[in-house]
Every structure is written in structure tokens, then in C-alpha cells.
Symmetry: C2
Subunit: 156 residues, 2 copies
DNA sequence: CCGCAACAGTTGATGTGTCAACTATATCAT
DNA sequence: ATGATATAGTTGACACATCAACTGTTGCGG
């Protein structure tokens, strides 16, 4: 019927979906989407970060960042300033409102994660982390040796 | 710095991303995308299934199915026939070409999953499945009791 | 049998993601 | 210095996802 590999595969996907759905709802309560929040978060952690660096952190295409930033700028959460020495680049900064909402949502998200993930006991948590770590490494190796990555991914 | 919950959270997301990226590349080799493939797969498993039922299996909105089906119909992989007793509904069937590509890609995907997930040894696999199962259950309960689900999700 | 709620499916608006092609600036080797 | 190459960011075209609003059918309670 369904072998172990398929089972593991499906479990991973479904677990992710549930987590992601919870995130989406949480962010929605604050008028944000996951990508918008994660842009704010990264900018708050590294003020002045460039769009390119951001796209690498988010594991998505640069063009995607361009448009998300545009939206956040329109909402008044983010601003772009020209890079002082590189004429191509720009630097991203949070506005005061952006910083405020980012802190607020970040706390809520952390609390939510504690609430939802703390229900598994510590022992399970630890082995889960160990095992996922191993799997994650193996998968990444496997992918890396496959081909030069086109551009792929689609995080958060 | 980073507590256990955050760690687990990030690991789950990143692991999923790597898996998903591999999938995307695999399907791409056959001129398919993940959503298109999964529509074909479900129709092959349940010929005559309706769009509504499909959207529930895929955990996505009906309107999404409408458009994916439209695309697959245009490619000649799928056809729609009116439901014999319900004037609102339609039945979905694979064309011979659709059935052929579906089988081909399905085998390739299974083989790929075996290759990539078999590198973790059986013991790890087993505990991983157990622990993920537990986590998955808890998360789902948590989500379910939260609110009447709007429509959410975004599988595969 | 009639009116109305539920359901199947479509459409439009919008956000997110990809890729490919482009502009403009930087960098590096000669 | 100049010319090839790389990098930063934008844009256009398209796929996929949501939600909200709509059309038609079904089915059910009066």
C-alpha cells in the first residue's frame, strides 16, 4: 500500500502545511502575510540589508523581493535609501511603524510557536531535532550534487 | 539565542523546502509542475472525481482547481464530462496521454523518494515517523480548536 | 409547488513565486 | 584606460494561491 518512504514524505509535507497554515492565520490577524513579515524581520535584524542579500536569506528570487518591498514601502513599514558607495545597491530600513508592527508580530509568533510546539514533550523534541537535522543534511547534499541549482526554492 | 522550539520550527520548514525544491525539479523534467502532477495523480486514482472533491484532497481552493484543470485540459491530459445526474457537477478523466505521463512521472517520483529518503537508516526513519506523527496530530488539534477554518492551506 | 439554503463551478482582484531579459553600475584583467 | 564580466535591481510573462462575489442547479421544508 504505502511504504515507509512515502509515509515519511507525506508526513513531512502535511506537518509543514499545518504549521504554515497556522502561521498564515497568525500573521493575518496583524494585517500581514508571511513573506511580508519575514522581510520586516530580516530588515529589523540587519538594518540596511540589500534586496539581494534579503533574497538569499528568504531563499527566493530577487524579483520577488523587489515587489514585496514595494508593497511594504507603500504601507509605510519600510524605506529604501541609496547605498552610499555602490550606485547599484540600495539599503532597506524599517520605519518606526514598521519596527513597531515587527516587534509586535514577532512576539506573537514566538509565543504561538512555544504554545503549539511545546505540547510535544522534551524528549520527543530532542530526538525530532536530531533526526530532522540528519535528514535535512542528507537531502541537501543530495540536491547539491544533482545539478547547478537554477534558482529554485520558495521559503516562508 | 535560539531556543528549542524555534530550532524545531526552522528545521521543519527548511526540510520541507529542500524536499519541495527536489520535487519541483523532478516534475519540471517532465514538463509538469507539482500542482499539475497531483491533479493528474488524484484523477488517476479516482477517475470521474469532481473538482470540489479534488480541491479537498489537494487542500486548496476550488477556484484554484478550476484553473489548473483548465491548463491540463488545454495540454490534452485531462477531460471534463458533465455529471450524469447532477447538473452542477462535472467529472474529470485522464486522456490516454494524461494517463501515460502520470504513470511515468509517478514512477520517477517514487524512485526519487526512495533514493533521497533511504539514505537515512531505518531506525532513524522509524522514530522520525513516530515523532512526526505525534507532532502532526497535536498541531492539527491545536489548529482545529482555534477557529472555524476559513479555507486556508496550500498543499503540494 | 414554491421559496430558500446549500452546493458546484467560474470569474475578478490581488499577492506570491518563478524565469528570462533588460539597465545601470562595479570590478577586474589586460 | 578599456573592454569583458559580474552584480543590483527592475520589469514582463506566467503559474499558483487566496478570497469574495457571482451563476446555476439541487434539494428540502413549508
Amino acid at each position: 500500500m504505502m511504504n515507509e518512504m512515502e509515509h515519511l514524505y507525506n508526513l513531512l509535507k502535511e506537518t509543514f502545511i499545518v504549521i504554515d497554515d497556522g502561521d498564515r492565520r497568525l500573521f493575518h490577524r496583524f494585517g500581514l502575510t508571511p513573506p511580508r513579515f519575514y522581510v520586516l524581520l530580516h530588515v529589523s535584524e540587519e538594518p540596511g540589508i540589500s534586496s539581494s542579500d534579503l533574497s538569499q536569506k528568504l531563499l527566493c528570487d530577487k524579483s520577488n523581493v523587489t515587489r514585496i518591498v514595494k508593497g511594504l514601502e507603500a504601507t509605510g513599514y519600510l524605506e529604501r535609501r541609496p547605498h552610499e558607495s555602490d550606485g547599484r545597491a540600495q539599503r532597506l530600513y524599517l520605519t518606526p511603524q514598521g519596527a513597531a508592527i515587527c516587534n509586535e508580530v514577532h512576539s506573537a509568533h514566538t509565543a504561538y510557536n512555544i504554545a503549539r510546539l511545546n505540547s510535544v514533550d522534551t524528549a520527543v523534541q530532542t530526538t525530532l531535532i536530531e533526526n530532522l537535522n540528519r535528514l535535512h543534511h542528507l537531502l541537501q547534499e543530495e540536491l547539491a550534487q544533482q545539478t547547478p541549482p537554477p534558482n529554485g526554492h520558495h521559503l516562508v
